[in-house]
Amino acid sequence: MFTQSSPEVHDVIVIGSGAAGGMSAWNLAVNHGVNVLMLDAGARFKREEFWTHVKPWQWRERIEKGLAPPKIQLDVKEQPYESKEPNRFDLIRVWGRGGKTNIWGRVALRYSDLDFEGPAKDGWEIPWPIRYKDLAPYYDKVDQTIGVCGGDDDTDSLPGSRFHQPPPALRCGERFMKRSAEALGIKVVNQRKAVNTKPANGHNPCHYCGACGRGCDVSAFFNSTDYLLDPAEKSGRLKIVDNAVVAHILLGDNGLAKGVRYFDRFTKAERIVYGKRIILGASCVDSTRILLNSKIGNSSGVIGNYLCEQVRFHIMGFVPELMGTKALNDDGLGGEHIYLPRYNARDGRKRDYLRGFGSQFWNTGSQAGVGNWAKQLEGFGLDLKRGIKKRYPALVAMHPYGEVLPYKQNRVTVEGTPKDRYGIPISRIEYSIGENERKMLNEMYDMAESVFKGMKAEMVPFERGTIDPFGSAIHEHGTCRMGDDPKRSALNGFNQMHDVRNVFVVDGSSFTTASEKNPTITILALAWRATDYLAQQMRTGNL
């Protein structure tokens, strides 16, 4: 087959355009004056085509007319992966400009030293090579650049920020849940979200339509395209190749990476581009697949292993004081306005498991649907209709997230898997949780039930111990982890490969552990720090 290659040798090639790739490209192009070539597996999404202000009944009418909203998530039929029951792992991917930042949950929680020091203290599995002080200045810069709203809280498990924009008001149900948790001695704070609540850096403020999951039509929440890639392109130092599905990183005779092989997503034409440095940010599982198929950087044997994310479940109920009240517009930022940070490391609390959990609270108040609870009410007729209406404004919900430890057997592999449409082996994901997570889940359920009991809430029936399908948090980490020991890690503390020092891996795969927190703001901070380091190495001629 003919392979088209360009003789140009780029200063830096960035693979992936989401939070990791976007931040890397922006920092190098805008702040360091470096020329960057980006390979993106998709193309730009058209903001004007998002179905943001489309009511549920209008949505149905459009579907019946044969229309469809823009397809943002990658169809697994286009790019399959293997995962077998009963341990199915849901892998959500976005191939297109900005990646998952187009539709992300926007929760922006800083890691703390409880997270960074945890593995060194409890011995599972390897220590992080960095601490909060290493990342704190980058979290500050990220907050100012992308716009994060939140409160002024600052604790051992959730470090504060001086740069938060004003948090939104609380919904009625959130006030009750906060009060109930705090009566148990569990602090609840303003949720931190990468949403502008006031105009900032030329970005619009949120207009509280609550449709963030369909993509924001005014770009009020951080997405890599508007906040990073567009300014980087304007600098004249970033060139983006659309629909470039990367297959391999190519190694030269000197042991350094020399380029990237990719396929055009639609024509399947094979192409090679050359570069002096490669930054991989294609998201955890896809980056891992590229590395494994490239057979590079894995003298430690850790690449692909130690896949970790969070266990979570959902619990709902109704606050008696809110039953029968008038429904309010509870959309807000879309998602919760409060957060329950990890607390189990304090006050000499005894626990029979490692690490911890926090809780989120989305879907509280009057929502655009009732199906997830109303079907469980008994009966029919006017009684049912009245019962639904009475409970409608009183809905409260908790969604605790607990850290899953990194286990070697939780892994991404490519050996012996079927090939994709470009002839490249697909990923196989093997995943399960262990005794540690089951013990933690017990306490997570105890905590959630106590908060609901404190409000005298009427519970929506649930089965204790039930958890969401694996992967549904969309927080994959750990398969190309960083560490000080090259025998047990693939990257150093600057996301640089131990084995191939001109390759940096900057997405969630680089995390040593998963924590109980959403990772994106930490990915942004790590990518900024890694590319500062890379730029400095370039200036001194080391790379």
Partner: protein, 166 residues
Amino acid sequence: MSSRRDLLQIGAALTATAAGAQEHSHPSDKETAPAKKQARFFKPAEMDLLAKLVDHIIPRSDTPGAADAQVHYYIDWQCFTSPRRGAQLRKDLAWIQKQKFTNSDQVALLTSWSKSTGEPRRIFQTIKDLTIDGYYGTKEGLQLELGWNANTFVREFKGCTHKEHA
């Protein structure tokens, strides 16, 4: 139950929201007249039965009921796009007819099925679930009945406005 006064207030609120929404609108926002409903999966007799069933599950009060909101057409669409589900529901409707539903005390029959176990309960719950999904996604169910008034431009999010909850 809402009074006529409440309904008028809802109407006024909807008008006010429409004015506010103009501050931030899109070509995609414009509400077009709903197309005339047409069954695509079920036969007329089956549609008649479905309409009766959904109306029992969520009847008209001072707001429209499920049949008013044409929820039976929503169910028809679900079955049209999922023939497997449609085939099962067609069998379920045939079973209901065999119980002489049309000529019986329909409320008594539904009550007995709702409290039973096994097949009658499954059939009842299937139709109830579809009715709930259908009705509370319509303008009649979500906006008029429940008072939902969201997914729109809001200049300031006020959150809980009840002083007693502060």
